[in-house]
Amino acid sequence: MLEIKNLHAGVEGRQILKGIHLSIQPGEVHAVMGPNGSGKSTLAQLLAGRAGYTITAGEVLYEGQDLLDMDPEERARAGVFLAFQYPVEIPGVNTTYFLRTAVNAMRKHRGQAPLDAVKFLSLMREKIKLLELDESLLKRSVNEGFSGGEKKRAEILQMALLEPRLAVLDETDSGLDIDALKVVARGVNRLKTPQTAQLVITHYQRLLDHIIPDYVHVLHDGCIVKSGGKELALELEERGYDWIVKSPLQTA
């Protein structure tokens, strides 16, 4: 589904990713962990198509297509979804209107008829329960004045509505208390199917107690320095990152 080959990228002349290799198959959940500044968020943003990064080497193939050559909206319509670490507030854009526009953009791409307001509302009511979100949020501007937890749950609500094939969750656990974390994780787990994949980017192990990864990768200084199964996350929790990053030759 996703093939990242020798990806080198940077911003304003500073190299951030220094040769990432990662292969994700349908049905898999991958976790990318790493200390601050290791390049985790850059990787997430780059997959979603944020402008401002310079790719100096390597390629990213998504279902055989050159992902890096696609506009952000093309990627989204092709099924790539980024749950933002910092969801953007858009004062004046009504949340329901925004969600319906996004859902109908996806439907149009798939050759489906647009949902009218009534059908959309019933779809949204069904999904919003899953995330235990208050319906009043839908009447407000996108993310504006939402609490940290509401913003993160609203991201997963969008994921539930847009039904991506590849979901990239960028530090979705940051700023969540344990109850909110469980709600978010439950939402994400319900969206897991044999045809879809998830890339979970996190600093801490605790999210991975609830979203169980098939593979864990440790990112350090722009490279994946170790890969393993879910037990690697537990080991990181116990021993921290130092034991890996001090011996960077242990690349799996």
């Binding site: 979603a48 198509g49 944020r50 402008a51 506009d71 952000p72 909206e73 990627r75 989204a76 319509r77 979804f81 980024l82 933002f84 969801p87 953007v88 858009i90 004062p91 004046g92 854009v93 009504n94 925004f98 526009t101 996004a102 953009a105 996806m106 791409h109 501007s141 996108v142 969008q158 847009l162």
Partner: protein
């Protein structure tokens, strides 16, 4: 000599002759007031860009006009005007004169007076005298004097204490005169008693191709604990010049919201003077201006914090295209003793063309301790973070830009409490923006 180019512009003799006629036909009590105002206007002349309060607003299009009071208009088209479907009292002025056939006041709660000044019993209109003689607004002194010298009529709205008026009161100020240089001077007086609630919607519309001056003054005062919403919708004719002066006086614990929607006119200058006179009063000034072609939209605010624990909020957003110009001047004056003042001011400008200009000038004068005053201004293109977020959800760039533009306007519109007015404006502004060919540039 360069100095002669910016010297105050003197009114032509024909305006003096028109004044003599106006003066002669006025009631005795008004004559000295008119005379004093006319003398003051002659002293001041029209402001020039050398005047700091008018630095960015060149009145050349106005000084070129042969100003004379508009003759009484015959009729105006009210069928498709904005807010036509709203219910509630409605006063229509055409070319500065009350049009009773187009107006409808209906049944009112006891003590509530809604009518036009010219029709009120003599004596009652003398309530106007202090306002006519007020020299409070330095920023609009010349135009206020011109208005006092020439005003023909206006609305008189008096709401006694403890009355809630649910339906908005609509005032229409429609210019139809086909004569270049026609001058319309209305003067509205709105008094809302203690703990009462009222909404007033003032629409200034042009139904002519001629260049004219609409120079109105609105005086609004609140009693203690009153809540008042005042909305001004300005959609003058393309060649029209709009100058307005709004003076708000807020008593203790009262709340006043003023919304200014500026869409029309060749040149529009809105002078707003708000005085927070009673403790714990709060005032919202909320404005949206859309300018295209060579339009100039100027909002000039003075917020006077004269008492402790008052809040003021000023939010003005402008969308400027072509060679248009937006001007925002926001002065916050915190008087000695006005402790615990909380004043906030924001001006945001979205430029859709390289040739559009925004001038924004905050001005804080603080003479009290323990106050919170903030201001912020932005001039620029759309926020790339927001565009990326929308794109990342599958929305193409054109649509994302369109959504943000509507949001920029919507942010102001959504502060309007009067629901039917808000919904209508939402649609109207949306349609107006959709006509813009640069929306997805």
């Amino acid at each position: 000599m360069p100095a002669t180019l910016t010297a105050p512009i003197r009114p032509a003799d024909q305006l003096a002759a028109a004044f003599a006629r106006q003066h002669q036909s006025s009631p005795a009590w008004l004559q000295p007031i008119r005379q004093a105002a006319w003398t003051r206007f002659l002293e001041l002349g029209l402001p020039t860009t050398r005047d700091e309060d008018w630095r960015f607003t060149n009145l050349a299009p106005l000084s070129a006009l042969p100003l004379a009071p508009a003759s009484q208009g015959s009729s105006a088209n009210l069928r498709e005007v904005v807010f036509a479907t709203l219910s509630g009292p409605c006063l229509v002025f055409v070319d500065g004169h009350y049009a009773p056939k187009l107006s409808e006041i209906g049944a009112l709660p006891p003590g509530v007076r809604i009518g036009n000044l010219a029709a009120t019993a003599s004596g009652e209109e003398r309530a106007l005298a202090p306002s006519l003689q007020s020299r409070a607004s330095k920023q609009s002194a010349a135009f206020d004097s011109l208005n006092a010298a020439f005003f023909t009529d206006g609305a008189l709205i008096h709401v006694p204490d403890d009355v809630v008026l649910e339906a908005p009161i609509r005032l229409y100020n429609i210019t139809t005169s086909p004569d270049a240089g026609s001058m319309i001077n209305l003067r509205h007086l709105i008094q809302v008693g203690a703990r009462s609630r009222a909404t007033v919607i003032e629409s200034c519309l042009g139904q002519t191709d001629a260049a004219y001056l609409n120079n109105s003054v609105t005086e609004l005062s609140t009693g203690a604990g009153a809540r008042v919403e005042h909305l001004k919708f300005q959609d003058e004719a393309a060649a029209g010049i709009h100058v307005s002066s709004l003076r708000l006086r807020l008593a203790q614990g009262s709340h006043a919201a003023h919304h200014s929607l500026a869409l029309g006119a060749r040149l529009a200058r809105n002078n707003i003077l708000a005085r927070l006179e009673g403790e714990g009063a709060d005032c919202l000034l909320n404005g949206l201006y859309l300018a295209v072609g060579e339009q100039l939209m100027d909002h000039h605010m003075v917020m006077e914090h004269a008492s402790p624990r008052c809040d003021s909020r000023e939010f003005f957003n402008g969308i400027l295209d072509d060679q248009s110009r937006g001007v925002f001047h926001g002065r916050i004056h915190v008087h000695p003793g006005a402790v615990k003042t909380d004043a906030k001011q924001t001006n945001r400008n979205l430029l859709l063309s390289d040739e559009a200009t925004a001038n924004t000038k905050p001005q804080l004068e603080i003479y009290a301790d323990d106050v919170k005053c903030t201001h912020g201004a932005t001039v620029g293109q759309m926020n790339p973070e927001q565009l990326f977020y929308l794109q990342a959800r599958g929305i193409d760039l054109d649509n994302a830009r369109r959504m943000l533009m509507h949001a920029f306007a919507g942010e102001i519109i959504e502060r309007i409490a009067c629901l039917p007015a808000r919904e209508e404006l939402d649609q109207l502004v949306w349609n107006r923006l959709e006509q813009n060919p640069h929306i997805a540039a």
